[in-house]
């Protein structure tokens, strides 16, 4: 016990070395020592991603929360979680913060202020699951709705009771959102409200997921094919069938009854619904997975074959017609590649009746176009309208065996609109039934608007690089050459590599990580035992050997005596079946490792990679690998690297070949941190210099990286790549084999250039802890 420390102490007087932190602290005006203890760290994190205005808003909100009179907890939760919330919602604080503060005020005003802390504590986990501000808003709406409908109305009492379910709801929400879309969460919540609004205990059970019906409703709501469940098959689909790859981003489908979001793609990825139910079309059933595939195929078609047209020249009707023709063109081309797609498209395409729309009263253009669209896809269509038939013929003529063009389709569409025009097209009443083709994207990529282009983009501000770490540089640098592909020469002594002992943290953290993976470790252990050298192995059937193998000798003798050719291999020998492998594990510790592992890529029961950074995951993986190699007895070393221009390549010693896998090493591993860039070549050369001095038969350099070589002083991305390739060649010449495990799903393009055949891309990063050790075993089997 430490004595003499006053328990209650106003922390307002706390002072911080960093002036920015100090100013922020004064602004916060907070007396909780617990907050003061973590404040600097929180501000550090916030500074890394917030600009000045965002930081102010953050502090202002924090100040408000600190004065709610609910102790330090809500404030702590907010300070610690908020930057993560914002990061998960793609850096967008603006629409989110007012929402969250509104919810807090609402809870504070009602008797539900107790729920504020759990609300804030789980918000980051929620944000990582939902990943967009809109989705988080929906989540907050669900919660507030629950609060309003379950507070203060129990058995007609007029006293106001807090909602019994709300705090539990917040506790369970992250887990629930693993299983349900936001729509499912709302249905589940509604069920609880409807049935238990006036039974406080049972309401608590329900929202704690403790009651049978609560679980049953969760199960029921898990209908349809959830995007999270098919993300990998969809990635594989794009890659395998279309040689395409793209970030897939789900959007919520449940709450936009009016607007009904439509798939689209833009700079940031392909947007698809978060869930698809099976579709029962006129032509049969299409599974949710196949619906996703149809959407992706359609977008791929646009990406391959669609150009852009200037929108300003066209009327809305004309644009609509252009889109129909263009959609059919690319689908025709897609079906040429994969004829079986016709089945899927036709099963999803509405088949409007020819007389369904009355042109006397209704605008029928959509209806006409939907029929035309169907007829363009299906040669066996039922329509007889001569104009339709004429344009079907002209369409196929335009395509012929070629691909035609967006331009040509636009012309065809204009002529179609002109030829089929009717007065009633202008009517306000538009025929929509059976005209919506829901696997088609919204075609935003097709149109170029000349006037008012106000969608400016904001890119990283250059100041980010300004935060300079001031550590001691213990050893004088070693200088390595760098390959200049342009001139095919080396730039001598170009990169300075500073080697330093990696700082230490808490070794117990690593043991904890290993414990967390105890099950996996057990599984690995079985594999390891198979690989482990069995020391003395007897080799039988030897012509020459150290001992006579009696069994074989006798049977040979019998053969000999009976005139049969005897087996001459009657000796046996022994060898020590040693694995003679030295391995150096080189870790890319560049800034990008601080990114969060994308959500939606994991499912319940996976051991929870929820919200981890790539760095944390790497740390787990490396610990497991180190443990595994240690079991095998192969000598190994671990080092990390990052760089800040060629003048400062940091090579951090974590474990040397002669060091044991002990607490000292674990402590260094525990303190692993990421920052700066990736000057791969220099690091490879430095690591190679250690490995080549080893005596083993096989010397392996295993590189774990999440991106391609890059550094702030190099603008040509090819340069460091070429240099890294050269470095790998140099290693090979020295008898060192380099192998790269890349966490960048888009790495194909460049890892092959650098590592030839010796690489693997890990698509499911959350599996890293498992993959890294297994990969090592496979490689050295």
């Amino acid at each position: 016990m430490v004595t003499g420390v006053r328990q209650v102490q106003d922390a307002r007087s706390r002072s911080y070395a960093h002036p920015q932190v100090q100013t922020a602290w004064l602004e916060l005006d907070c007396g909780f020592p617990a907050v003061a203890d973590v404040f600097e760290e929180c501000i550090d994190t916030a500074l890394a991603s917030f600009d000045a205005a965002q930081l102010d808003a953050y502090l202002e909100a924090a100040r408000f929360i600190g004065k709610l009179g609910r102790g330090p907890e809500p404030l702590l939760a907010f300070l610690e979680e908020w930057p993560a919330v914002v990061a998960a919602a793609s850096g967008d604080q603006e629409p989110l913060l007012p929402q969250v503060m509104g919810a807090i005020r609402a809870m504070q005003k009602s008797p539900n202020s107790k729920a504020i802390t759990p609300f804030l504590q789980t918000l980051a986990a929620i944000a990582r699951r939902l990943q967009s501000a809109e989705q988080i808003e929906l989540y907050i709406d669900i919660a507030l709705n629950l609060m309003q409908r379950t507070s203060g109305s129990i058995h007609g009492h007029h006293t106001t009771f807090p909602s019994p379910g709300l705090p539990h709801f917040f506790d369970q929400a992250p887990r629930l959102l693993d299983l349900l879309s936001t729509a499912g969460l709302r249905n589940w919540t509604d069920y609880g409200i409807r049935n238990y609004a006036s039974h406080p205990e049972r309401q608590e059970d329900y929202f704690r997921l403790d009651s049978a019906d609560s679980r049953a409703v969760v199960q029921r709501e898990r209908h349809g094919t959830l995007f999270v469940d098919v993300e990998r098959p969809l990635d594989l689909y794009l890659r395998a069938l279309w040689r395409d790859s793209e970030q897939l981003v789900p959007y919520s489908t449940a709450f936009d009854e009016l607007r009904k979001p439509i798939p689209y793609y833009d700079r940031l990825g392909m947007r698809v619904p978060d869930v698809y139910d099976d579709a029962h079309g006129p032509a049969g059933l299409v599974s949710g997975l196949d619906r996703y595939r149809a959407v992706l195929a359609h977008m791929v078609g646009h990406r391959r074959w669609s150009g852009q047209i200037i929108a300003d020249n066209y009327s809305p009707f004309q644009r609509m017609a252009v889109e129909f023709f263009e959609d059919c063109r690319i689908e025709t081309l897609l079906m040429r590649e994969y004829p079986g797609l016709r089945r899927v498209f036709l099963a999803l395409h509405p088949l409007p009746g020819e007389t369904e729309c009355d042109p006397e009263t209704t605008s029928c253009l959509r209806h006409r176009l939907a029929m035309l669209s169907y007829a363009l896809l299906d040669p066996k269509h039922p329509y007889t309208n001569p104009q339709l038939l004429e344009f079907v013929a002209r369409f196929h003529e335009a395509l012929g065996d070629g691909v035609s063009s967006t331009r040509e389709m636009a012309d065809l569409a204009l002529s179609y609109v002109a030829r089929t025009r009717r007065q009633s097209d202008q009517f306000a009443k538009v025929h929509f039934d059976n005209t919506v083709i829901d696997y088609r994207d919204d075609n935003r990529h097709l149109w170029q608007y000349i006037e008012d282009s106000d969608d400016e983009e904001f890119f990283d501000d250059p100041d980010k690089q300004n935060r300079k770490p001031a550590e001691s540089q213990s050893l004088p640098p070693r200088r390595y050459p760098e390959w200049d592909a342009a001139s095919q020469t080396y730039r001598p002594d170009w990169a300075s590599v500073y080697e330093a002992l990696h700082p230490s943290g808490n070794a117990a953290d690593i043991d904890r990580l290993l414990d967390k993976h105890a099950v996996l470790a057990k599984r690995l252990k079985r594999l390891l035992d198979l690989l482990k050298p069995q020391d003395k192995v007897r080799i039988r059937y030897q012509e020459e050997g150290s001992d006579l193998d009696l069994d074989v000798a006798i049977s040979s003798l019998i053969d000999y005596k009976s005139g049969v050719a005897p087996d001459p291999r009657i000796n046996m020998s022994h060898r020590t079946d040693g694995r003679n492998i030295d391995v150096l594990l080189l870790l890319d510790l560049s800034e990008s490792l601080n990114q969060k592992v994308p959500e939606g890529t994991h499912r319940a029961g996976d051991g929870g990679t929820a919200g981890q950074t790539v760095l944390e995951l790497s740390q787990e993986a490396v610990s497991l690998l180190a443990w595994a190699i240690d079991c095998l007895g192969d000598p190994f070393a671990i080092a990390g690297f990052h760089s800040n221009t060629r003048h400062e390549v940091r090579y951090q010693h974590i474990k040397g070949f002669s060091e044991r896998w002990d607490d000292g090493v674990k402590a260094r591993l525990a303190a692993m941190q990421a920052g700066w860039s990736t000057r791969m070549g220099a690091a490879l050369r430095h690591a190679g210099h250690y490995l080549s001095a080893r005596k083993a038969d096989k010397k392996i350099l295993l590189l774990l990286t999440d991106g391609e070589p890059a550094d702030v002083d190099v603008t040509d991305p090819g340069h460091l790549r070429e240099d890294a390739r050269k470095a790998v060649e140099e290693l090979a010449a020295k008898g060192v084999t380099a192998f790269c495990l890349s966490l960048d799903p888009k790495a194909d393009d460049y890892v092959r250039d650098i590592f030839g055949k010796r690489w693997r891309v890990l698509d499911r990063i959350e599996r890293l802890p498992e993959t890294l050790p297994t990969l090592y075993m496979e490689l050295t089997r």
Partner: protein, 267 residues
């Protein structure tokens, strides 16, 4: 004594050249340079050697290498018989004496100490020492050594030593481009060109996944298998699943994707 004729390739094997490999091989053979054929499994390496042996009218001795193979399995060994001992030449020795092309298939499978026995045959000496017998064989002027090697193996252990690699000229094989592969499938299996093209297309979808869960894509050999099954009346989708998808993966997501590719490829 082994008869040279028995190792001759009698009928012309069907081989469709992918590039200039035939003339380049002839040049290598003219100079008796050792040849290494690199490439993924089932892309036509063995077929190529067979074809070249036929074209050059030289005997061909093929050895499929494996982990348990010892140097004696290549070079030869003493056998005991009623009159004492008798030496039996191994395939490499036979080839060197006869002047055959000796094709060591999948050389990386053999242990490295086995591999080194070929070294003296591959440099200017062109000799093969039979240590146990105390004999030094000068290779026949027609003798040539060819090895094949699949660099796609992920194991770093299964790699050729630099000192072995650097004794060979090398050809890089890969699956033929689509039109050519289609012709090959047509000729090998007798199915029509349209079907063959579809099968090749499916094979390519799997090749696109190399490095993303698949170590190797669907080989030409498997495409020929599928086509052969279809030629014998098996429904195309079934044949594709059985001969092309099932053999290459146990990963459920990949299987589903390739199954879908099969479905999408047939109208």
């Amino acid at each position: 004594m082994s008869n040279k004729d028995q190792y001759l390739v009698r009928a012309e094997p069907f081989y469709r050249a992918q590039g200039r490999e035939v003339e380049l091989y002839e040049a290598a053979y003219a100079a008796r340079l050792p040849v290494m054929l690199k490439g993924p499994t089932g892309c036509g390496k063995s077929r190529f050697v067979e074809y070249m042996a036929w074209k050059l009218n030289k005997p061909l001795i093929t050895v499929a290498c494996n982990e348990d193979m010892t140097a004696s399995d290549l070079v030869g060994r003493y056998l005991l018989d009623a009159n004492g001992t008798r030496w039996l030449d191994g395939p490499l020795t036979i080839a060197a004496r006869l002047g055959a092309i000796c094709y060591l298939d999948e050389i990386v499978e053999a242990r490295q100490d086995t591999t080194v026995v070929i070294h003296p045959l591959t440099d200017h000496r062109r000799v093969l020492p039979l240590d146990k017998k105390g004999e030094l064989i000068e290779a026949h002027p027609d003798f040539q050594l060819v090895i094949s090697y699949n660099p796609g193996y992920q194991s770093l252990m299964k790699d050729l030593k630099q000192s072995t690699k650097q004794r060979f000229t090398a050809f890089d094989f890969d699956y033929p481009e689509a039109a050519l592969e289609t012709q090959i499938v047509v000729t090998e299996s007798g199915v029509d060109a349209e079907l063959a093209a579809t099968l090749v297309k499916i094979a390519q979808t799997a090749r696109n996944l190399k490095g993303h869960g698949l170590d190797e894509g669907i080989s030409t050999r498997l495409v020929v298998y599928a086509a052969t099954l279809i030629g014998r009346g098996v429904a195309p989708q079934d044949a594709c699943r059985m001969a092309m998808v099932r053999p290459i993966t146990d990963d459920a997501d990949i299987r589903a994707t390739l199954d879908h590719a099969v479905d999408a490829s047939f109208p």
